[in-house]
């Protein structure tokens, strides 16, 4: 026989064979009445307990009644006051004078004449006998049953009230007592406390079962910004292919951002409206000034250069880098032939002076890569690009000719978006011109280079329509965002 925790608890309590009312059990077991009644029904059914119901008038002594038991009835007090002589009503110091006077008069204990009260003989005699009301009250106190007429007397004097009630009493049967004695009754608990665990008491209790399908409050975990998550993945792609990470400042001299990359000084990209220049005068790295100046003015071997007068001053102007390609130029400048072949990548924030709207942002992320290898060729460039975008989930990539001042061949990479069923342009790639490589590296060897942006890929992955949402930092958006799951 398997009893539910409540039932077992009740039976265990009744093990001593004493009959108890539901009211008593509520107090003793700290269970609610409905639970006790429900449990008792099962115990009855199993023959573990019997339930008896007594119905009848149950008297409840009022506060006034309790006072009367303790100090006597008001009319007795009044007669007592008049024991030593007549008094005017005013001279009687009795709180309950109203009730006392009414009852005493009707009982014939006092007479009243022109505001003077006098105790009668009957009244004085009453001091030596016990009033009927008190006798009845004491009977109630002693759990004796009263007749309805007696109760009505008390009720009319507001000394007690009564109601009709069923009292349910429960008593264990022998079978129940035997069962209880042979069974360990487990208590039900909701919280598993350290004490329960440590003491081993957890074995003696039942852990309440929960509604595991009920809804719960949302928990906010700490997490990385989604742009960081995407960046980490892009970084992983290049690391897996054996690339070293390049880093460097966001503020560059125009020399490194433009001149070292063979961007002529009057190129539209160098105009104020596109680029964030700083009102400062930088310094030039003299080691390269001469060769870069020459590349611009008259070219290198086999090249005509741009054929103009190169200005040192313009090259000194600091600028918020417009591309991470500035880092590639600096890396080339530091490489020695022993270091080759070499592969580098960078991921960094770049800047363009652009009015903010849903599709334009003045800061963007670029992923940069260079491969410096005398055996590198154009097909390798296509291979790296296809691999990179493939790892980002775009299986089809195509390449079309484009133009950048520092690469030749130059191309735009487009990937096929399977859901949108169209090609999307993701950025540029190419092979650095000899005019870029020779002055920096000292020799003209093939350098594959690319610098696509990946903000569009992040937006696509997270279904962001407004580019400003990348850095809006809306806390509920950040809390609710899925993890970057590619890779």
């Amino acid at each position: 026989m398997n009893l539910q925790p409540h039932e077992a608890k009740l039976l265990k309590h009744l093990e001593d064979g004493v009959e108890k009312s539901v009211g008593q059990l509520v107090d003793e077991l700290k269970m609610d009445q409905a639970a006790i009644v429900r449990a008792s029904l099962t115990l009855n059914k199993e023959g573990f307990a019997t339930t008896s119901e007594i119905s009848g008038l149950i008297a409840i002594i009022s506060a006034e009644g309790k006072n009367a038991i303790k100090y006597g009835l008001p009319e007795t007090h009044l007669v007592n006051e008049l024991k030593s002589g007549n008094k005017t009503i005013k001279n009687i110091k009795l709180k309950t004078i109203g009730i006392a006077l009414g009852v005493a008069k009707s009982k014939g204990y006092v007479v009243i004449d022109k505001c003077i009260l006098e105790a009668t003989k009957k009244g004085l005699a009453s001091l030596n006998t016990k009033e009927n009301e008190l006798i009845l009250l004491e009977k109630i106190n002693n759990d004796e049953k009263l007749e309805k007429s007696d109760l009505d007397i008390l009720k009319s004097r507001k000394l007690a009230d009564y109601t009709f009630k069923i009292v349910r009493k429960i008593k264990a049967t022998k079978k129940g007592i035997d069962f209880a004695k042979n069974t360990t009754i487990k208590e039900e608990v909701s919280k598993l406390t350290p004490d329960l665990i440590k003491s081993g008491k957890w074995k003696d209790v039942i852990l309440r079962k929960y509604n595991v399908e009920a809804p719960v409050a949302t928990v906010h975990q700490g997490k990385r910004h989604f742009v960081s998550q995407a960046t980490e993945y892009v970084r992983k792609i290049w690391l897996e292919m054996g690339f070293k990470e390049m880093t460097g400042p966001m503020i560059q001299t125009s020399f490194w951002n433009f001149d070292s990359l063979f961007v002529p000084q009057d190129h539209p990209a160098r105009e104020m409206q596109d680029t964030f220049f700083l009102d400062l005068t930088g310094k030039l790295d003299n080691k390269f000034v001469k060769s870069i100046k020459k590349a611009h003015e008259e070219g290198i071997e086999y090249s005509s250069g741009w054929q103009y007068k190169w200005s040192r001053e313009l090259a000194k102007k600091p600028v918020l880098r417009t591309h991470t390609t500035a880092l590639s130029a600096q890396t080339l400048a530091q490489l020695k032939s022993d270091d080759l072949p070499a592969k580098y990548f960078a991921i960094g924030r770049c800047f363009r002076n652009e009015a903010l709207d849903w599709k334009h942002l003045f800061e963007f992320n670029q992923v940069e890569g260079i491969v410096i290898d005398k055996d590198a060729n154009f097909r390798h460039l296509l291979g790296y690009m296809k691999e990179f975008f493939g790892k980002l989930g775009f299986e089809k990539a195509r390449f079309r000719p484009a133009y950048f001042p520092y690469t030749e061949m130059s191309m735009e990479v487009e990937v096929y978006h399977p859901k949108r069923k169209g090609w999307i342009e993701l950025g540029g790639a190419g092979m650095f011109r000899p005019e870029v490589v020779k002055p920096l590296l000292g020799e003209d060897i093939p350098v594959l280079a690319w610098g696509p942006g990946f903000d569009r890929i992040i937006m696509d992955y997270y279904k962001i329509k407004d580019i400003r949402d990348l850095y809006k930092n809306d806390i509920s958006q950040l809390r609710g965002m899925k993890q970057w799951m590619i890779g």
Binding site: D285, G299, P401
Partner: protein, 544 residues
């Protein structure tokens, strides 16, 4: 990059073959032009700055026709000799060059006229850099008399009726009151003498690079013969620009007549269409492209780009502006070969990967902070002076500001990360608290010793907005963070106006100040309209 609208009918006629839209849509981008749209009447393309010769219907069709193998090969133009010379003298050093030519026998219509004007304008914007390098002018031959002089005069001695002007105007008047004058006045500002073209009767034809005369410098559809000039600062570029213009006119049916350019000490005839010879190294081409080629294949591919080939030399037409080096020919070969026809390959080159220290540190910090249940935020590096200074209750400070920002509210480079996090808190008061945020990133300061006069330091900052937290909460997190990162540090009582006095400490790493930790000053909370206490710290990571 310039976008040009081309008349589709003209382009198709010049192509010399019926071609469907589908084929055009496929081929135009593969030639290296960005196709924007194609309709029944128009082709809209973005021409990359290396191919200004494709800015007109004629130039575009010429390139496309050879690329599509309809009319491959080097295009030859006949040049006749005009027995006249243009004298170039007394010019300001700032505008010393001119090249001139005559084209006769044009049959213009509205469409051709529009094409010429578009080409003139786009060349001015691109190759000639908004006329800073030069300008191009056309004049009906029936309004002028040869020989022509290019010279200069003081502005008081120049007056004429500018193009579309109502009356004869003086120079100052043109530069102030004529729309084109106003637009380009900055180019000649401060010059003593202004360049002008005058004909043999001393009629002022134009004042380059500003504007032509309305009376003698306006070409109409009735014009048959034109005098064309380009003037400016870079003779080489001027020659290319004018070659592009006159080959377009020749493609329209005109005949080119060369003129002698007389610079006094130096004289030359213009134009000279002798192609530029560039020696090709077959090994170099094959090595760079990763494909095998033979002589006839090279010749064929070059022909598809309108480039000639003879005995190992590429013959580059005079209207091509982009050929500086053999590599530019290699690219043309690659384009003709078709980028889509190369087999992609990843070479097996073993190199060892590595991450930068900064990246590793940023990741470690993120691991620790997200472990505390903090949310990483990312802000712009460009913010506002107000965010960094007034809102943070700090004294006016020296900050780095980019010139002419397009967004007025983003005008300053951040020197701390905390203000950006405060801004985020102020924009998220409707979201559930507590809010616990952190950010790692670079901040920018002045540094006279650096080549850019600035330095960038990695910082991290975190904020906790919570009614149930206080100084001990943030101090505990700071200590735990730095211990996790194995950094030795100490905290010292300090003052900082962004924080509450008596509830702020200075973080010292290696005995140097590396940041602050504390409870944010209620004044700062008021400035940001925040009603919840905020605890924060910021650390300079550059000395860890």
């Amino acid at each position: 990059m310039p976008t040009v609208t081309l008349d589709k009918k003209t382009v198709l006629k010049l192509l010399g073959k019926k071609v469907s839209d589908e084929i055009l849509k496929d081929r135009i981008p593969m030639l290296g032009t960005d196709l924007e749209s194609i309709s029944d009447t128009e082709i809209v393309v973005e021409i990359f700055p290396n191919r200004p010769d494709m800015l007109s219907e004629e130039g575009f069709a010429r390139a496309l026709s050879s690329f599509m193998d309809i009319k491959p090969g080097f295009v030859k133009y006949e040049i006749k000799k005009e027995n006249s010379k243009v004298t170039v003298k007394n010019l300001p050093k700032t505008w010393p060059y001119a090249v001139c030519v005559i084209v006769r026998g044009l049959k213009l219509d509205d469409n051709k006229l529009r094409s010429i004007i578009q080409l003139q304008e786009k060349l001015g914007v691109t190759l000639l850099r908004k006329r800073k390098k030069g300008g191009i002018g056309l004049y009906p031959m029936d309004k002028i008399t040869l020989p022509i002089n290019f010279t200069s005069r003081p502005k008081e001695k120049i007056q004429f009726r500018p193009l579309e002007g109502k009356t004869i105007m003086k120079v100052n008047d043109i530069l102030v009151n004529h729309p084109t004058g106003r637009e380009y006045a900055h180019i000649i500002s401060g010059w003593k003498n202004y360049p002008i073209f005058v004909d043999s009767s001393d009629v002022i034809m134009s004042m380059p690079p500003i504007i032509n005369s309305h009376d003698v410098g306006k070409v109409t559809k009735d014009t048959k013969d034109v005098f064309v000039e380009a003037t400016g600062t870079d003779l080489n570029i001027l020659k290319i620009a004018l070659n592009i213009m006159i080959t377009t006119l020749a493609d329209m049916g005109g005949t080119i007549y060369s003129l002698e350019m007389d610079y006094g000490t130096e004289k030359f005839r213009f134009p000279d269409f002798t192609p530029r010879k560039i020696k090709l190294d077959k090994n170099y081409i094959e090595r760079l492209l990763g494909i095998e080629l033979n002589d006839s294949k090279i010749k064929e591919l070059l022909g598809n780009m309108g480039i000639g080939y003879k005995k190992g030399n590429a013959l580059v037409p005079v209207y091509r502006a982009d050929i500086l080096h053999q590599i530019d020919i290699v690219e043309d070969i690659a384009v003709a070969y078709g980028y889509e026809n190369f087999d992609e390959e990843i070479p097996k080159v073993a190199t060892i990967a590595s991450e930068s220290k900064g990246t590793i540190l940023e990741r470690k910090i993120a691991e620790v902070m997200t472990g505390f249940g903090m949310l990483e935020c990312k802000n712009y590096h460009i913010t506002s002076d107000e965010t960094l200074t007034t809102k943070m209750n700090v004294e006016k400070q020296q900050l780095i500001k980019p010139e002419n920002p397009a967004n007025i509210e983003y005008n300053t480079l951040r020197n701390n990360i905390l203000p950006g996090l405060m801004k985020i808190l102020s924009e998220n008061t409707h979201n559930e608290y507590p809010q616990k945020l952190f950010e790692t990133g670079d901040v920018i300061h002045f540094d006279k010793t650096s080549t850019t006069q600035t330095k960038e330091n990695a910082h991290m900052s975190c904020v906790i907005a919570d009614v149930n937290s206080d100084f001990s909460t943030i101090k505990a997190i700071l200590e735990s963070t730095l211990k996790s990162l194995d950094v030795k540090f100490s905290l010292k009582k300090a003052k900082h106006s962004s924080y509450i006095d008596g509830r702020i400490a200075e973080i010292k790493i290696n005995g140097k100040n590396a940041g602050y930790v504390g409870e944010i000053n209620p004044q700062v909370l008021n400035n940001w309209n925040l009603e919840i206490p905020v605890l924060a710290y910021e650390i300079d990571l550059s000395n860890l």
